[in-house]
Symmetry: C2
């Protein structure tokens, strides 16, 4: 744990009076866009790479986990192979290669990422296949953010965490609980990718039928994982569903009024505050900004476009 604590960068807390007025809540942002490789995923990746015995890792990722894993491997003198869709943005492919990771592109019209991962794993049994979210080492790595939040526990009563596969939410729950830090802990999920909200309502793990095309591309997962669901089902206070319009709005106001560059997934927690004033108005809320990596052209299109 000490090695992890030294390897990760502490989260950056940001407060904005303008956004407090705008939202009606008293918000402290915990910004992971300045984490190594630009998202919280480095916490997970570093803990994973440093904990497993294998020298070679294999993962499917079109986003932040691939870059985080490659950077962790570079630091820990290991190697990773990342399976990415052939239409992945150039900047993400180059990000993985920048840190020395091997990129294998897969044409999704011909086979799935999972199929390509299995082929590669079969061809080289020394490689360990790892998940971006559903792995105890991943959750443990993300719990380091919960530890940090527990150290400033007097500044908020509620924490809101973006949810895709649930790795960050289950990590934050774990970190807060082991520090005996009792807070209301909400997930924030795109309304059109609301598998976690439905799972929590129905008390069983439910999956989306296909990958939801939310602008919050970090939340385009089919479902929570087995490990993350086990923690979330009892530890989460609730999951707030956020419309695409409010994800867009939150991304814009963070950039325009608080000088924060957040990727749309990173703006989900503020979107949840805007979506549910009945839950959050007048309350002291810690909104986790999960990351800041976003294609510039896509981002500028969002900022320039009206959000409703």
């Amino acid at each position: 744990m000490n090695a992890l604590k030294e390897a990760v960068r502490p989260t950056v807390f940001v407060v904005s009076r303008v956004l407090n007025n705008y939202s009606g809540s008293e918000i402290v942002f915990a910004n992971e866009a300045f984490q190594h490789t630009g998202s919280f995923k480095f916490r997970a990746a570093y803990n994973l790479v440093s904990s497993v015995p294998e020298q070679k890792l294999l993962a499917a990722s079109s986003g932040n986990f691939g870059m985080a894993l490659a950077h962790a491997c570079l630091l820990l003198k290991k190697h990773c192979t990342i399976v990415m869709p052939s239409n992945s943005s150039r900047v993400k492919v180059e990000g993985v290669r920048y840190y020395g990771g091997t990129v294998v592109l897969v044409d999704l019209a011909r086979k799935t990422r999972a199929e390509r991962v299995q082929e590669l794993a079969a061809a080289d049994p020394a490689m360990r296949v790892v998940s971006a979210y559903d792995d105890p080492f991943v959750i443990e790595g993300n719990a380091s953010l919960g530890d940090e939040l527990s150290q400033v526990a007097d500044t908020f009563d509620i924490v809101i965490v973006p949810v895709g596969g649930g790795g960050l939410l289950s990590g934050v729950i774990t970190g807060l609980q082991r520090n005996s830090c009792q807070k209301l802990i909400y997930g924030a999920e795109p309304l059109i990718a609301n598998d976690a909200a439905r799972s929590l309502r129905e008390g069983k793990l439910i999956a989306n039928e296909s990958e939801p095309q939310s602008i919050a591309d970090g939340a385009r997962t089919l479902s929570l994982g087995k490990h993350t669901w086990a923690i979330i089902k009892d530890g989460a206070t609730g999951i707030v569903e956020v419309s695409e319009s409010l994800i867009h709005e939150a991304t814009k106001v963070l950039f325009t009024h608080a000088n924060v560059k957040a990727e749309p997934t990173g703006a989900l927690a503020l979107g949840a505050v805007l979506a549910r004033p009945d839950l959050f108005s007048g309350k002291r809320v810690c909104c986790i900004i999960s990351g800041g990596n976003v294609d510039a052209a896509l981002f500028f299109g969002l900022i320039a476009r009206p959000s409703s």
Copy 2:
């Protein structure tokens, strides 16, 4: 001083391994884009408003100082009038009004800002005319950033500060000196607005002939001030002149590779690192990002355009 320390937000330190590799220096950014009203100017404005006896303040500003002054007045129950060019960006005019400041627009084709300020001051002698940079209270306010830097003095050997009128540079010099913190202190100035560099070289205060149209609009001043020059002439190690191309480049790489939204003036210090590897390569450098407020359309144009 304690009231000032409580009113300002501590600067946000950001480190980026990618930018270290890119620049060849070991950089810690001190980011004032998350300061109240989005720039270091709030430090100056708050100290000024809380130190003077007058209830009404009057200033010319087309940028960050106007908004900072208005916010400080709102907090301290005073009032300000800001003279702005009639072609000022709407967002800046609205920013001043948001905090309750009165905006007086002036058509620069008909009279100068200074003339309009004098007219207004003559009409209401209760108003105190204040400068955005050349005022001991302003320098004292900015010195609070120097105090903060002195507390992390073991993390850097050189500090680089954006220079327009010299308010921030003279403040940082003041703050570091009074804490007996010996560092090399450079200013970073647009090459096409190099009055401070020429002044330091020639040992006397030199002014630009007209307002230089640098993309670093916070550095479009005619010259240093009387008070700031008195501190800078002995306290600054040197002034680095940064081409428009490198200001542009620095703004882009901060946004793209470090998730930092800096206005072009705020990127001057990184631009200086890129401009002068002979001075900074391999060194531990603290780059001050002075602010993050920038018109979105202008900013996206910069990011989308090749920088050389």
